[in-house]
Symmetry: C2
Subunit: 563 residues, 2 copies
Amino acid sequence: MTAGLTAGLTAPPPLPAGGLRVVALGGLGEIGRNMAVLEFAGRLLVVDCGVLFPEVHQPGVDLVLPDFSVIEHRLDDVEAVVLTHGHEDHIGAVPYLLRLRPDIPLVGSRFTLALVAAKLREHRIEPVLVEVAAGDHHAAGPFDTEFVCVNHSIPDALAVAVHTPAGTLVHTGDFKMDQLPLDGALTDLGAFARLGEAGIDLLLSDSTNAEVPGFVTSERSIGPVLDAVFAGARQRLVVSSFASHVHRIQQVLDSAARHGRRVALVGRSMVRNMGVAQELGLLHVPAGLLVPVEEATALPAHQVVLVSTGSQGEPLSALGRMAAGTHAQVTIQPGDTVVLASSLVPGNETAVYKVINGLARLGATVVHKETARVHVSGHAPAGELRLLLQVARPRHLMPVHGEWRHLRAHAAIAAEVGLRPDQVLLAEDGVVVDLVDGVASVVGAVPIGDVFVDGATVGAVGEETLTARQILGDDGFVAITVVVEPGTGTVVAPVHLTARGFADDPAVFAPAVELVEEALRRTLADGPVDSHRLAQVVRRTVGTWVATTHRRRPMIVPTVLEV
Amino acid sequence: MTAGLTAGLTAPPPLPAGGLRVVALGGLGEIGRNMAVLEFAGRLLVVDCGVLFPEVHQPGVDLVLPDFSVIEHRLDDVEAVVLTHGHEDHIGAVPYLLRLRPDIPLVGSRFTLALVAAKLREHRIEPVLVEVAAGDHHAAGPFDTEFVCVNHSIPDALAVAVHTPAGTLVHTGDFKMDQLPLDGALTDLGAFARLGEAGIDLLLSDSTNAEVPGFVTSERSIGPVLDAVFAGARQRLVVSSFASHVHRIQQVLDSAARHGRRVALVGRSMVRNMGVAQELGLLHVPAGLLVPVEEATALPAHQVVLVSTGSQGEPLSALGRMAAGTHAQVTIQPGDTVVLASSLVPGNETAVYKVINGLARLGATVVHKETARVHVSGHAPAGELRLLLQVARPRHLMPVHGEWRHLRAHAAIAAEVGLRPDQVLLAEDGVVVDLVDGVASVVGAVPIGDVFVDGATVGAVGEETLTARQILGDDGFVAITVVVEPGTGTVVAPVHLTARGFADDPAVFAPAVELVEEALRRTLADGPVDSHRLAQVVRRTVGTWVATTHRRRPMIVPTVLEV
């Protein structure tokens, strides 16, 4: 528990023979791009391979990937990628990993593999799939993997125990302990107890809700709330949720059936995922309930529920367009009811409130988690994390899946149930933990960067580009072009200034052009000057003018062309 | 309650003789830049004049002002600006209004005027101040203003009743109904009842917490929670709060005194405001408790509390620097305790969590409103709004101070207590409400824009500049300069390409330069071409290349120079 953890760490020593190494390429110190790499006897096992959605200070970026550079040169050593469940922050980066080596086996439950396969088809990759179920063992090289049922906000989620001669590591994946899950798939505490009895040397456990006291409310509690909203709605209903939350959608369908409303699915991922869920028997759709959206919009308003994407305020999603009044098929009318039956993922608050306000402005009644109990979290809060530790009794805990505040809170829970500080491994991305002779400890760190997907490119956008975008986005740029005679530097054309993102009125720059011309005259008065020096003069002149006159710092781009 | 309210409204008709007009220049449909303009018999009265903090889609902007253009040509008609309390969203734009006419009288309570005077000193403006207290009347032209004590998260807050021959308008300002306020200053329900008895024709009432059920918890409840945190802290304590929240800071000082800790104030606005509060007798500081920060950092860690700004995650604030490890005087040590005793203003979530995570990474225990009851809101929730309506019994309600979701929720509360839809005036900025013959109604709307303060400029940055910043911030720019012979368009120098914010590696642009050269050759093959056409060719060539090769949309800036 040292401060500035990674900063003080150096490259790790070679893994001792018989030892098990763990390094997270993502998911520690952030919520997203979960990926843990296990190493034993020269072979690698990957657990999850997800994406992170970019933050405000990463403008223009579409996705952030785990930094594969740590294993890029060792892809042939990878025995398999185990996928604990089908959320984007666990499977979203699989296509980018398989681009590097397409035949890495993907091990997961039926629904998880169906979702990742659909994603890979869009990337034209034909994966090697190994389907497993709770209770199964699968040997991946020297890693004997064993799967345990866990309950989460998506069906068919698994924890994985990895047995090696070095000891047993258990990774919970994402989990909570809903005691009355809709599909009866409980988090298998018996299995965790049995694994604990045999000895768990290192437990990697979900930290997302470690700051939240107590136990989760059952997903089942949402049903009656939805029913009450449905009973009160006189006109059209729109319910938005995550497109992978099969049980939430199931409850919406059930409420719709009870209240004599037809349902239309709106949004590409909603239609695709619910199709997969229905095919696999995970979503039960009463005959005749689902109708295409064109048909739904033609029905009387009180006979319709639209189930849509966009619960995180994505402006281009179905709900985002409805709120902006730009959806091609759906127009929100005063008196409509919109339910956001979803979490509010940190970072999305502004976007979500913008959608809520847009809908409210159009006259809709908006029901969201702050005004009604229309959401329960998918992650175990403190009470359940404590319970898991007491049942599994691991020798070491490595909190995963969390920002620093969550990892620290999880460590505090571990302390409460009796783990000593040396038994709790607080790590961030890149920190290397070795399990040797039954003792797990931090042995070093490898450098981890951010790999950005931006348009069609992966990795082309780096820190330099992002820094430039921040400057440009805050203050724009002023570009000044000077055409000079080669050799002498004599200016042979009027100084040309272009600015964007600085001020609406171009007249504001007239004094700057004059100042540049004057500065160039002074500089050239004593004889020939090279282009590099002229560019410096231009930059300094414009920079000083902008700073003193406008107290601003746009990017200044001088160009001296020799003609 | 029509949809797309302002869109359907046209310019208002002239105000009928004997009528009272109300138009909000800010604060409706947003939290911030509160400013209402009242008109009677050709004279104007302004209530509040605050700033709005910019949103993510307004990059680089420092502040957003109310759009004064509606009254700019009538500044001589303004009798006074009534300031209900001293928060930035109520007084922050006063300097910009007084720049236009410095002698507009400012009417407010002693603390409010002290804060606005301090602000005006920084702008070198000497204001005309009219101090009032609860119970006072002040005649501002035809407006007989009467002040009512309200309780809020800053001392000395007032509601204002405006009596005119057209009827009585009451503006609550920001308020809640803490039943046990630290200073005993209750929201004066008796006064509201008396005003109601005499007849309130139009009530403008704070909507911020209209979505929140029930009643506020007393500010006093924070004390014991702080005490418990103080009792458990073994090392240094840092408590962050709003720099105007005198009662919160008072409780921190009291806890510090009880636990034998000295207090240092950190952050410019904290030092300034608490100095004012202490001078006015609003903050009670035990002798010897306060020490300068240099002295505090030299004391043993367990004898110190630092009270700092930065509760909203501002990166350059005292706490922001501590979290980033860049504060000149304060270094966070593992085991320190940091308390964010403040709200989390919507829009600031990402910044605040970044600060919390930074502190957690350094080893601090961070206590915030999601983990302990260290904050209560300053705004009346639904139960209190209902109570006020039942006590004041206004003939009409105009919900103010809220985003659309809040205004709608307030309207729903009004409906619960029996106001008919035509008695509730849902308006957004610019919507004009006239009170004529005892009936208030929406009569039209005036255009309201966003006025941005950006560096030293006010109003120079408009929508065009912001759109450019968004494009530049997301995808950067590609600037291409072509030097040609006047008249013929013959290219006389190599095509020059500069790009920023697009890709780290400049080599990526080599194919684009070749394509431009090729396109220019083709265009010029049939004879002379003018510069405008050449610029079009360059733009289209680069645009197509970027879209197809990179699936991106940077700003493309072609320049054709004739030499």
